[in-house]
Amino acid sequence: MNRTLHLAIVVGLVAALVGAAPAVAPAPIIYTRWQNFGPREGLPPGRVFCLALQGHRVWAGTENGLAYYRHGRWKTLTSKDGLVQQAVLSLAPDPQTGDLWIGTFGGVSQYSGGVFHNYTQLNSGLVNNVVYGIAIEGRTLWFATAAGVSRFDPDTQEWTTYTQENAPMGDPWGYGVTVAPGRVLVAMWGSGILEYNQRGRYWRPFTNPNQSPEIVLFRNQGLVNDVVSSVSYDRATQWWWAGTYFGLSGYDGRDWHNYLASDSGLISNFINKVHARGAAVWICTNRGLNEFEPARRRWIVYRRQGAGTEVELVNGAGRVAARRKTATAPASAYLYDVAFQPGRLWVATAQGVSLGLNPQPLFKKEN
């Protein structure tokens, strides 16, 4: 009996060990060639704050208008064409209607059938003209603005305003907004993440428990910092990702996972945008681009080196496991946004739009 039991335990342990042995992970795919677009290609000069894809059309929100890419050239729509204001901060294509919603420094434009329809804080219920983020939830629109959050129902033309008066925000500066099942997540500059529960119609704040902007006393006990610039929801893993000016936070529904440049592959703590996609999160910072796969604890770092790019694979311990250099680089290391097409990575930079091409494995095999 005892011998049988021991044998079973040994067999079980062996089986468990074999099962737990690390599988060979596929080599990460990186973009090895960069094509840059600026005024010569038709883009207006200056920064590009945001990108959006609508079918085959690529939209870029720039400091000086709304640009779109067509047949190798960019064309720009400005306030002369009806855009509410030149500086475009956020874009949200509506998959249902085909309309494009555009957040600017001067209000919101709805671009539909080639015509702009504008909403401002003066002519509508929009709480503020500076619209950093837009999210579409069914037929309802959410706007993160510099003075609170607006919810708009186009069917009834009803606006609802959320500010310090009726939501748990210390500072009403909304920087980004995204939709998750049953909830809306708002990135607040100084007030952490606000979660709006659709069914209960109440807000719940997620903030940094340390209450300190720069010191992380308890690494994974909450949001890494309250100065949140961006929030993104990953449908594959059901994680949220929050980009702050002082690090990266991921929330798996129960626990927080915080990452700093000092002890991970994060290229910079100053994050402009996070974009969750297929169990990975892409991170746009002031020093370059990251792709992070939390399941594999694997970071890809795109760092500009002269005219080229140094791409690194960094493991969970912060150790560089592989490195490759490419001859071209994005137009600037200061990045604002990313957008994906098959085999293509569009990047919004401080000096125009860059297009990542020629995806290849970083190396042949990773062990």
Binding site: G98, G113, V115, N123, S124, G125, V127, A147, Q157, T163
Partner: protein, 619 residues
């Protein structure tokens, strides 16, 4: 208190209109039961004629040959649009005041199901395959797309403003939606209306075609071969951007037609031409149909009780080589008009039988049809067996939709007040001001009990307003002067134009939390001192709320005082303020209340303002 007021208001309107229920729109017991036929379609075989009756909330099936009524069915409140689909097996009726569509079996007229829509559904069509139903929502300013398999609303596409007519293109690739009002624009400029083009394959807006200087775009119709893609739309071209005393020929409005001409790979070109002639107006052009084979175009003039017959080749040939300033030339229509045919009163729609031998015109205010033999051009009247007794209100309704009293028959009351509402335009009407004192057209819905009238409160009653004022300023004629009975009839009708059900707040329903907060603000700010909820949201005095501009003449507005407009249906009737410079309710306070005379809003948050506006929507 509010509920009591709302209820009493509705009862007053119902009593005035003679309707048993504002929500149902059914005639009260003992009240005349006018049918008010509004729309007509033929069965594919041409043997059956379906007539939609807005006044009685009915759909009639007639034998097309004899005119005999075969069946009738009750549909929803205030039906407006009618479409036939599935090879003639199914009918769709839009119930404007019920915010839904009735799907009926075309043979039995039995109700198959009720489909969801936005607010105020009017025109509608299906795609060729019968998979989707496209419905223009006049109040929510959008187009519902319903999935006919599931019976659910798939999506809504924005359509600015008051989308009305809906047409499936001949090839089935696009749905065209025309608007009765233009998108909101600067008050001293000409309106630019819109035709919304929906791509059927993707169910998205393909383009928005601008129709400059036009309002009241009616249902489009596409020309047959050899002119595929050419689309004609009856319209009205207002001259509101110039002082009315400067308008040449006395026409304040041109009754006209827009033609959309296809261009390869880009937005169609828009040509416009008047249907008025030098001597006679073509007031309220509404119904339009091509004859089978496309040789002729039938267009109804609802306010002059006639149908014009145009030679298609002549008209479309002219569009290929348009003469200079065609849009302003009053001899244009004479080049292609072959004949005119007298109809009954208020011919609002026309349809051609599939075999092409005859057409049917809907005479809304006669409760009848006119059958036109398209070979001999002779006519016969088909009565729909409505009520024969004509009340003063009915006589007044006929006058409201008639250009009989206007100079050269160019305009009717409904030219500026479509369906008793307003057209969204501001006008300089006064001869002595010349370019100043612009004022908006105000809705006539629910106007009873809101005296005085005019933005400067100069008309103490509707008799004055519709008599002297209308004659001298609008009609450029003697108007109703010397026609006392007609004036009384008109007033009887105007004072009984009903308010449609308020989509923001159903009678008997409690206010939402946001609306309650807005009501508290309304009460605390003292808004009720002028906008008394117990009196339609108005009061019998005028007041200076600091809205005068440099363009306003003190002789028009004594001491800067303006009439206090009623608040009922205010959510659906922009623009606001006397000159229409506020294009939304928000702008009344965010842009045009610098002096704080129109409510002290210092310290009010944006959230407070939103709540206040949500409450105003409930009026």
């Amino acid at each position: 208190m509010f509920k009591r007021w709302r209820r009493s208001c509705v009862l007053l309107v119902m009593a005035a209109v003679g309707y048993g229920s504002g929500a149902q729109g059914a005639p009260a017991a003992g009240a005349p039961h006018y049918l008010d036929p509004e729309a007509v379609v033929f069965s594919p075989s041409g043997r059956t004629l379906y007539v939609l009756c807005q006044g009685s909330n009915e759909l009639l099936a007639l034998d097309a040959a004899s005119g005999k009524i075969l069946r009738r069915a009750t549909v929803g409140a205030h039906p407006s649009g009618l479409a036939i689909a599935s090879g003639g097996r199914t009918l769709f009726v839009s119930n404007t005041w019920a915010n839904n569509v009735s799907e009926l079996d075309a043979h039995s007229l039995g109700l198959l199901r009720t489909l969801p829509t936005g607010w105020g559904p009017v025109g509608l069509t299906t795609d060729r395959e019968g998979r989707h139903l496209f419905i223009a929502n006049s109040e929510s300013n959008d187009v519902s797309i319903d999935d006919l398999k599931t019976g659910k609303e798939l999506k809504r596409l924005a359509a600015w403003r008051w989308p009305h007519g809906v047409m499936l293109s001949r090839g089935g690739r696009y749905v065209y939606v025309s608007g009765l009002q233009a998108p909101l624009h600067p008050y001293d400029q000409a309106p630019v209306s819109e035709v919304t083009v929906i791509r059927v394959a993707s169910l998205t807006v393909a383009r928005r075609i601008a129709v400059p200087n036009a309002v009241q775009l009616r249902t489009p119709a596409e020309a047959p071969r050899p002119w595929p893609g050419v689309i004609l739309i009856p319209e009205i071209r207002p001259h509101n951007e110039v002082p009315i005393v400067r308008v040449s020929q006395g026409w304040t409005l041109n009754n006209a037609m827009a033609a959309l001409l296809p261009r390869e790979g880009t937005t169609p070109a828009t040509l416009q031409f008047p249907l008025d002639s030098m001597e006679r107006g073509f007031a309220l052009p509404e119904g339009l149909a091509f004859t089978r084979g496309g040789g002729h175009i039938l267009v109804t003039s609802a306010a002059s009780n006639r149908v014009a017959v145009f030679d298609t080749r002549g008209l479309l040939g002219l569009l290929g080589h348009p003469p200079a300033r065609m849009a302003d030339r009053m001899d244009t229509a004479a080049r292609f008009e072959e004949r005119e045919i007298a109809s009954g009163r208020d011919p609002v729609a026309v349809a051609v039988a599939p075999a092409g031998r005859f057409a049917v015109v809907v005479n809304r205010l006669d409760d009848s049809l006119t059958r036109i033999d398209l070979r001999t051009w002779t006519t016969a009247t088909i009565p729909l067996n409505g009520v024969e007794a004509i009340t003063p209100r009915r006589r007044g309704q006929r006058l409201f939709y008639s250009a009989r009293f206007a100079y050269q028959g160019g305009v009717a009351c409904a030219s500026c007040h479509p369906e008793g509402d307003q057209n969204g335009l501001a006008w300089d009407l006064q001869s002595r001001t010349m370019g100043r004192c612009r004022v908006t057209v105000r809705t006539l819905r629910g106007i009873a009990g809101t005296a005085p009238f005019n933005w400067n409160a100069s008309s103490p009653n509707l008799e004055t307003q519709d008599g002297v004022g209308a004659a001298a300023i609008i009609f450029r004629s003697q108007g109703f002067l010397g026609h006392k009975r007609e004036l009384e009839d008109l007033v009887a009708f105007v004072s009984s134009i009903p308010l449609p059900p308020n989509p923001y707040h159903r009678v008997g329903q409690p206010l939402t939390r946001q609306q309650r907060r807005g009501k508290a603000l309304f009460d605390n700010m003292g808004c009720a001192g002028c906008h008394n909820p117990a009196s339609h949201g108005t009061a019998r005095f005028s007041v200076n709320v600091g809205t005068m501009t440099a363009a306003d003449d003190n002789s028009c507005f004594h001491g800067g005082r303006v009439d206090i407009p009623q608040l009922e249906e205010i959510a659906l009737s922009p623009p606001y303020l006397h000159n229409g410079e506020a294009r939304s309710l928000e702008e009344i306070w965010t842009k045009y209340n610098q002096t704080q005379k129109h409510g002290v809003i210092a310290g009010m948050s944006k959230r407070d303002l939103n709540d206040l506006i949500q409450y105003l929507h409930t009026f």
